[in-house]
């Protein structure tokens, strides 16, 4: 049987004010029926542009050459997406090829019911009555694992959880039984346990519906879990293409090797943590901790007479000087709230939280201000944590000026240069504006800013989750070096167990506002006791197809048991 998708010599460039920019260069790919082809690469590699081309979704500023041949599932018709008219494209979209988006919370229209949105897609292609379309919507919702689809077909998107929304989106993509689904980072926005479920569903889609999938992702674990074949893209070109097993076992291209080496593995950090523990002076454990939480409780007030939302529900932990505590949890587990409370950005409503000896429960800003210079904070998104109107040097100098260490940003420049060097940024970058730096560079600058006052405590809230994997590896390495050099204590918050493992001396796992497990990396990751930690660990896909297949079995058993 012929391929569902044949891309030959595809080139795409975008017209910009600065002339044409080439995004995709001479790409040729094929996808066989029922096959999962993963396209991996970093941001800017052209993988998403390639994916959008398959549905003809590129903006008008794009010019294309080459051919994108798409066959219908029964093989009765074939069309070249590049040369189709708008009307013809509309016919193909949804029927022969459909798309699953990255962010399930924004890919559904909030003001229409999911049933309405599914039915709309059905009725855009052919003669279905409203009743038939509704029946089909209910059927497909049931098949993607939405419980009680007869009722839920009338629900609005906000009434579903994130994972369920992604199921609904997959249902929409499947409803007209297309031969090909393009999934653009379908699990990136989801928690790792939910990710495992969605990957299972996509596998079922391939097996039960015989749908081919083009999987766009930067996560090598996801690739190992689902893909049959992998194409690695770099700067608009396909640099390597191989069956998944082969790509992971013997990568050929330099870039692929680098990419695979940059992927964090669980277990990497155990040796390092042990080495750090060895190096500590005797009597280290007797030092007064910099942070002590006792039965810490944080509740966000509800709106007018409604009960509040308990984000952190009675947790206890401590961070000793020079120690890195990794805080792991899914979205909504309360990990960010905990970090913000330590930095005095969120009010503590119960229990006790002592930061540098200062009680945060009922704290007054005036009394706490002098402690602030001793606490650094690194934010998740480097794109939004810098004032776009200030240069990098001004941003980094700001804490120095605020705390009276320098009279103005100019006077602080010498110190700023030192800091930029410490985070391995060229001095000249101080004169640039935030938007002129890449994500990784901005996050380095963010580290420089947080370290400007040589704090004894640093709170890093998902500092690498917005970065590409190879950039993430370098930033994590930098973080470890700086920590060694400056010796600050740190609370490192992340949803990614493997990332936390690399840096942390001890790991604490949060689940629904409660601390379910705490211990060294070897204890928590090596022999997890709490069922949630076990599930979390088992859900994390590893970049090795053979091992991942075994792990998948393990997770299935764990789920069946739990």
């Amino acid at each position: 049987m012929s391929n569902v998708l044949t891309i030959t010599n595809l080139g795409i460039s975008f017209a910009t004010d600065a002339g044409a920019v080439k995004a995709v260069d001479d790409v040729s790919l094929t996808v066989a029926p029922g096959e999962v082809l993963a396209i991996v690469g970093e941001s800017g590699s052209g993988k998403t542009v390639t994916a959008k081309t398959i549905l003809g979704l590129l903006p008008e500023t794009a010019t294309m050459n080459g051919a994108v041949l798409l066959s219908s599932k029964d093989g009765s018709s074939q069309s070249n997406i590049v040369s189709l008219s708008k009307q013809q494209l509309r016919q193909v979209r949804g029927k022969d090829v459909s798309m699953v988006f990255q962010e399930p919370s924004t890919a559904l229209n909030p003001v229409y019911t999911v049933g309405w949105q599914i039915a709309e897609g059905i009725r855009a292609h052919g003669e279905f009555s409203k009743k038939e379309a509704r029946a089909k919507a209910i059927e497909i919702l049931g098949r993607v694992g939405i419980p009680d689809p007869e009722t839920r077909v009338n629900y609005y998107p906000h009434q579903f959880s994130g994972g369920q929304k992604q199921r609904v989106i997959i249902a929409m993509a499947l409803v007209l039984d297309p031969g090909l689904i393009v999934a653009d980072e379908p699990t990136t926005a989801l928690d790792v346990t939910v990710q495992a479920e969605i990957l299972d569903l996509l596998r079922r889609v391939r097996d039960e519906f015989g749908t081919a999938i083009v999987l766009i992702t930067h996560n090598m674990g996801v690739v190992a879990d689902l893909a049959d074949r992998v194409a690695v893209m770099y700067e608009g070109k396909v640099v390597e293409e191989a069956p998944a097993q082969q790509l992971f076992s013997s990568p050929q291209h330099e870039y692929t090797k680098k990419l695979l080496a940059a992927v964090p593995h669980v277990g990497q950090g155990i040796v390092r943590a042990a080495a750090r523990a060895e190096a500590r002076a005797p009597g280290w454990t007797d030092q007064a901790p910099v942070v002590v939480a006792q039965d810490l409780r944080i509740e966000y007030p509800g709106r007018l007479g409604r009960p509040g939302f308990v984000a952190v529900d009675g947790i206890s932990f401590s961070i000793r000087p020079g120690e890195v505590l990794g805080l792991v949890g899914e979205s909504g587990s309360g990990k960010t709230t905990t970090g913000r409370a330590i930095a005095g950005l969120t009010r503590v409503t119960g229990g006790s939280l002592k930061v540098l000896g200062h009680e945060m429960h009922g704290f007054k800003e005036r009394e706490f201000k002098k402690f602030r210079s001793d606490i650094g904070f690194v934010f998740q998104d480097p794109a939004s944590s810098f004032n776009p109107l200030l240069t990098i040097a001004e941003c980094v100098a700001e804490p120095l000026v605020v705390h009276g260490r320098a009279s103005n940003p100019g006077a602080a420049r010498a110190r700023v240069n030192e800091l930029l060097e410490a985070v391995q940024l060229p001095r000249a970058y101080g004169d640039r504006y935030p938007h002129e730096l890449s994500g990784g560079q901005r996050q380095r600058a963010s580290l420089a800013r947080s370290l400007a006052l040589e704090p004894s405590l640093l709170i890093a809230d998902e500092p690498t989750s917005a970065l590409d994997v190879s950039v993430q590896a370098r930033v994590l390495e930098l973080f470890a070096e700086l920590q060694r050099e400056f010796g600050f204590a740190a609370l490192f918050i992340s949803h990614d167990l493997a990332v936390v493992d690399i840096l942390a001396d001890r790991i604490a796992v949060l689940y629904k506002g409660k601390l379910v497990e705490e211990g060294t990396g070897a204890e928590v990751l090596g022999a997890p006791k709490d069922p949630y930690t076990q599930r979390l660990l088992a859900s994390l896909p590893v970049p090795d197809p053979a091992e991942q297949a075994l792990r998948r079995e393990g997770l299935r058993k764990l789920r069946a048991a739990g």
């Binding site: 029927k95 798309m99 229209n109 003001v111 709309e120 609005y156 906000h158 959880s161 409604r306 939302f309």
Partner: protein, 367 residues
């Protein structure tokens, strides 16, 4: 209003075991709170009007000072009770308003409530037509501009929008009169209806004061549709002058919001399912864009009423704005106070209605 609170929609239809945290209560509870908030709003507005008016002294002196001798003035002030402590007068005023009694005008000696009734309906009619024009012109054109964003059509519409809201009502009103009433002579210059029509409507057993409805009544009873035609013809120019002012704002607002929602993932997602471009704008981008628009429309109603004052004066439309000017000229602060208070109440009420509409559009508010 309690029926709203206990309507079926108010029942919490959230399923048990839903994972994400509830974002709000039932719609009934939401609307009940919004409804209850009207009362403090009105109270504050009415109080502000009272105290602002009284900073200038008592109404009798303001209206008749210089025309009557000091003794006569004192006598009338005493008769009207304006020589009592201001707090006593304030509470009396609040109590009267509560029972619908707004006092008596000084210049014409009529109950203010009667003035409000007679002229209020005329203003309501004008505001309704103005809003209608604003909707019919502003919203579709805004969508068209969004669809052709940054193209010629869009540029033209944006210039049109600027012209609409940058031209003062009295100027556009005069221009309309000049073109349509004087040069082309197809529409009447001013007023709400010809005297003949007004007489005919007054003969009705229960005239509402809303000329459109009265004219329909006339047509239903006597088969005389000329009155209706006459009334509608009179309404065209004032409604256009007033409505276009707001239409320009609506156009810009709809354009910006629709462009914003056209860039969202869910529009791209719908496109990837083969939904037509027309539907993307008319359904997927339009309805979510309406949510912020509705809120601004609520604020616009206040501006519309302000615009009505100018429009009514320009077109001799005998509404609240028209008489407000008369009363201000006569320095009749009791009447002014009543009119301003009524306008405040209308604004508070219309904001409540806007909240209801927003709740109907946005399911996240409803559930």
């Amino acid at each position: 209003m309690t029926t709203v609170a206990t309507s079926p929609a108010a029942k919490d239809s959230r399923p048990a075991g839903r994972k994400s945290k509830p974002s709000g209560g039932g719609i009934g509870r939401y609307l009940l709170i919004r409804f209850l908030l009207i009362f403090p709003t009105i109270f504050i507005l009415v109080s502000m009007v009272f105290w602002l008016m009284r900073t200038t002294g008592d109404p009798i002196t303001a209206a008749l000072g210089g025309r009557l001798g000091p003794e006569q003035l004192a006598e009338r002030i005493h008769a009207a009770g304006y020589d009592r402590p201001i707090l006593v007068q304030y509470f009396e005023y609040l109590g009267q308003i509560f029972t619908g009694n707004f006092g008596t005008t000084i210049s014409t000696n009529r109950p203010v409530s009667e003035v409000l009734m007679t002229y209020g309906v005329a203003t309501a009619e004008l505001a309704f037509y103005g809003l209608l024009v604003a909707f019919i012109v502003g919203i579709p054109l805004g969508m068209v501009a969004a669809y052709w964003r940054d193209k010629g059509q869009d540029a033209l519409l944006r210039v049109f929008a600027i012209l609409c809201y940058a031209t003062p009502v009295f100027f556009s009103g005069l221009l309309f009169k000049l073109v349509f009433a004087v040069w082309l002579d197809v529409l009447p210059v001013a007023g709400r209806a010809t005297t003949g029509s007004e007489l005919e409507m007054q003969l009705l057993p229960n005239p509402t004061g809303l000329y459109t409805i009265d004219a329909i009544q006339v047509a239903a009873q006597t088969g005389n549709t000329e009155v209706l035609a006459d009334v509608l013809q009179h309404a065209v120019l004032p409604s256009l002058a007033l409505g276009l002012l707001t239409a320009g704002v609506f156009l810009r607002l709809v354009r910006t919001n629709v462009i914003g929602t056209l860039g969202t993932d869910y529009v791209d997602a719908a496109r990837s399912r083969g939904v037509s471009e027309f539907r993307l704008v008319s359904k997927h981008a339009y309805r979510p864009a309406l949510i912020p628009i509705i809120t601004v429309i609520g604020l616009q109603i206040a501006l519309l009423l302000g615009g009505a004052v100018l429009t009514e004066t320009t077109f001799e439309w005998k509404g609240l704005g028209f008489v407000l000017i008369e009363f201000i000229k006569a320095r009749d602060y009791v009447a002014v106070q009543g009119i301003v208070a009524l306008l405040a109440v209308i604004v508070a009420l219309s904001n409540f209605i806007v909240d209801i509409i927003a709740a109907i559009i946005d399911p996240r508010v409803r559930y």
